[in-house]
């Protein structure tokens, strides 16, 4: 059986979209898949096709295979591991105040969207630090 090799190196990826998003203040968009416990964060519009480039067992960069441009990240085991490991429980979990406001499914959806937005900002910050730390070169990656 053939081995699974790394087909693309991180140096081959294009981080210009991330840099632009940081420069012009583009809002990052979060999308949480509860079935797979994965948070997707996109730096602007999501292309129809993306490839995952894993950084570790939890975080993968999402890039467009046509341009190799990094368009987002996915965080696996988000609720299971990432939230507790990054001290995000207070932003992710519902508190008493949130629960008091829940009267309908609409309230629940609103609360979920708000939580995803809040936690996306934190993931964005953590990811920037993480990527900069890995590359050792701020200009190469995000800022």
């Amino acid at each position: 059986m053939s081995a699974i090799n790394q087909l693309v190196k991180m140096e081959e990826l294009d981080f210009s979209r991330v840099r632009r998003a940081a420069d012009d203040g583009t809002r990052f968009k979060g999308d949480y898949d509860a079935v797979d416990d994965t948070l997707f964060v996109y730096f602007g519009e999501r292309p129809a096709e993306v490839i995952v480039h894993y950084l570790d067992d939890f975080i993968g960069l999402l890039y467009d295979p046509a341009s190799f441009e990094v368009v987002g990240i996915q965080v696996e085991a988000f609720e299971h591991s990432y939230v507790p490991n990054h001290d995000l429980s207070s932003k992710w979990e519902l508190n008493d105040s949130d629960r008091r406001l829940l009267k309908s499914t609409g309230d629940l959806i609103q609360a979920s969207e708000r939580k995803v937005r809040d936690v996306t900002k934190e993931v964005e910050r953590i990811t920037r630090e993480s990527l900069i730390g890995r590359s050792g070169n701020r200009s190469l990656v995000l800022v």
Binding site: M1, Q6, Y54, D57
Partner: protein, 104 residues
């Protein structure tokens, strides 16, 4: 069962199903390019040319199937293993495996 989108058997004889909800609402809503790759997704489970792997962090429930790439990608299908009904959780394309995955 009428919620089953497809049912296949992996090389070890385990039956794996994919529900309509999973295919349409979880996989295609986030990886729409896979709409044209349904047969590749099935083949990845029935004939995973790069093998079947277990997740380092979810050893009790997640297994991964890989099939051959068209540069720069491998098809990866994530399955929740269950004695009664193993189910596809998601499928997507990746250029590598995760460091902690172990070949079964």
């Amino acid at each position: 069962m009428d919620d089953v989108f497809f049912e296949v058997t992996d090389p070890k004889g385990m039956v794996v199903i994919c529900t309509k909800d999973c295919w349409h609402n979880h996989i295609l809503s986030r990886h729409e390019s896979l709409a044209a790759q349904i047969e590749t997704v099935k083949l990845t489970i029935t004939n995973p040319t790069y093998g079947v792997y277990r997740d380092a962090n979810f050893s009790d429930r997640r297994i991964y199937y890989y099939r051959n790439p068209s540069y720069p990608r491998y098809m990866k299908v994530v399955v929740r293993e269950d004695p009664d009904r193993s189910e596809v959780i998601t499928a997507y394309e990746t250029d590598s495996m995760k460091p902690g995955e172990k070949l079964l």
